[in-house]
């Protein structure tokens, strides 16, 4: 999958998996705030993250849930609802294949159009991108973007991965390493040619 670390959507609707991946690293999350990127979630994602009954909650899970609550109290991760019409339209091409959180994020983005779907899930991502023509972002892409634009420094790399691996049993380390390397390589190439692209704004993205 091609990746341009200079670009990332200004606004994304984030699925459950990506919410946890983003919040797993305080440094990454803080850098995303600093980069003035906007992330919203759907009521289904909020339900899955905070309210859905679960048999037991580990201290790590509780910590992530607290982080989401605290971020929301500061105005981050506002809720964007999807309509029934959009849900029915977007789910027709993938009956029984996607989870509720993924469906609701795709349906919300389908309506707004100039907002990306942020998911780290392969099938959801491909469906949104290839079948519905939506912009799709991932947590590793966000990570690469933050490095490229120096919202994160080289010294943060190990720490972000360490933080992430503490919470995630199936970590994205391989992809974080890849987007970090890509970001560094692209910066080097651009530096050699003289200029680094400015972060995109809603107008130029």
């Amino acid at each position: 999958m091609s990746f341009d670390p200079a670009r990332f959507a200004v606004a994304s609707v984030v699925d459950t998996c990506s919410v946890w991946n983003m919040l797993s690293s305080l440094r990454l999350n803080q850098a995303a705030i600093q980069a003035k990127l906007h992330f919203c979630i759907t009521p289904v994602v909020l339900y899955e993250c905070l309210y859905k009954p679960r048999p037991n909650i580990t201290p790590e899970q509780k910590e992530l849930m607290d982080r989401l609550v605290s971020n929301r109290a500061k105005g981050r991760f506002p809720v964007q609802e999807c309509s029934l019409d959009d849900l029915l339209t977007i789910s027709e091409g993938a009956p029984g294949k996607l989870g509720s959180g993924e469906l609701s994020c795709i349906a919300a983005a389908y309506r707004i159009r100039n907002i990306a779907v942020m998911t780290d899930e392969k099938l959801a991502r491909r469906y949104a991108q290839n079948n519905l023509g939506l912009s799709v972002e991932t947590t590793p892409r966000l990570y690469g973007y933050l490095h490229y634009h120096q919202h994160l420094g080289g010294a943060d790399h190990d720490e972000v991965i360490k933080e992430h691996e503490r919470f995630e049993k199936r970590p994205l380390t391989q992809f974080f390493n890849q987007t970090f390397d890509d970001a560094m390589r692209c910066r080097l190439m651009v530096n050699m040619s003289g200029s680094v692209a400015k972060p995109p704004t809603p107008e130029n993205h």
């Binding site: 459950t16 996607l98 959801a124």
Partner: protein
Amino acid sequence: MKIDLVLISSRLAEARRLQAVELAEAATQTGIDAGRLASLEAGQLAPSGDELLILANYYARDFRDFVDPSRPEPFKQTDILYRRFGQAFTPIDRRAIQEFLFLCEIEATLEKELGRSSTPFPFTPTGTHLKSHGDQAAQALRRQMGYSSKQIRLDIYADFRSIGLHVFRRRLANSEISGLYIEHPIAGHCILVNYEEDIYRQRFSASHEAAHAIFDSSDAASVSYQRNSSKYDRQDLKEIRANRFASCYLMPPELLPKIQHWDTALAQHWAQTLKVSTEALSYALVDAQLIDQGTAKLIRSVRVPMAEKIDPEAPEYLNATQLNRRLQLLERGLSDYYVGMCFEAHKQGLISAGRLGEALLADHKETREISILYGRSIVNEL
């Protein structure tokens, strides 16, 4: 698809009624305001996409059940079940049954998409004596499976899955119920065995419910009670037939030992050999006229120690942690077969990680824990 508000509202109300959940409870659990939920159920408002997904999740149903008139009517079978046996089921058991049906539907869909075919067992009995129909069917099925008359099969769950039955085990609060059978409009024959019973009784119950699938699918739904339950009907010929099938499938008459002088050690030995309870063994021996009632009572007076029983779906090669986790999953109705198939479907790109979690009745964290337990990966991509 056109939005039919009458269909959506009636099905939302029906889903809640079948699970015997109060409006306030549903509102608390879903985070949807009670007044709004009442309006949705009354057809005064249309739900948002998110509300429908949350409610479908809460009621353990596919959201399309509420909106798609082209799908088979999704409430009929459980409605029949609860009309006949409603008193037997608490809201917790009703939720367990709904989750079981949800798993059956996913299992049936994934089997189809993965190209896993079953070999049907079309059985036509001869004669009018119902009990002997059980005998005939057990013999015929063992023949279809290629078992010799002396062969003892441990994993009968795999046998029944191979003929297209969906078999799950799940703990029910009502311990008088040994199992139930539902003919699901999408999944077909669905068998739930009460995990509350001991392992060997569960094998018998699974076989008993398989008999209902073979003979009684036109009844749509049935519940079986343990023999010692006050609700167990000793005169019910369908139950007698199902017991006979189970007995003959697990213990073909040729396999029963012909012993002159039974003692408790022999009783334990043969129950363990045949992987059945001493109770089931005693009834099989009485039926075969190999023992009298006094000896049957002696055989029933002992049990095979729990520690010596082997669950075919929690094999001995697992370490203690894995075994514990596997047993927890089994209690939630997640068979090894089902979990393995869900991961295979995810690997092949048939279901997303989010859908995988729903199929496993698990959240993000649990899905990843299960993936580690099963040595399977969650597919991500840059």
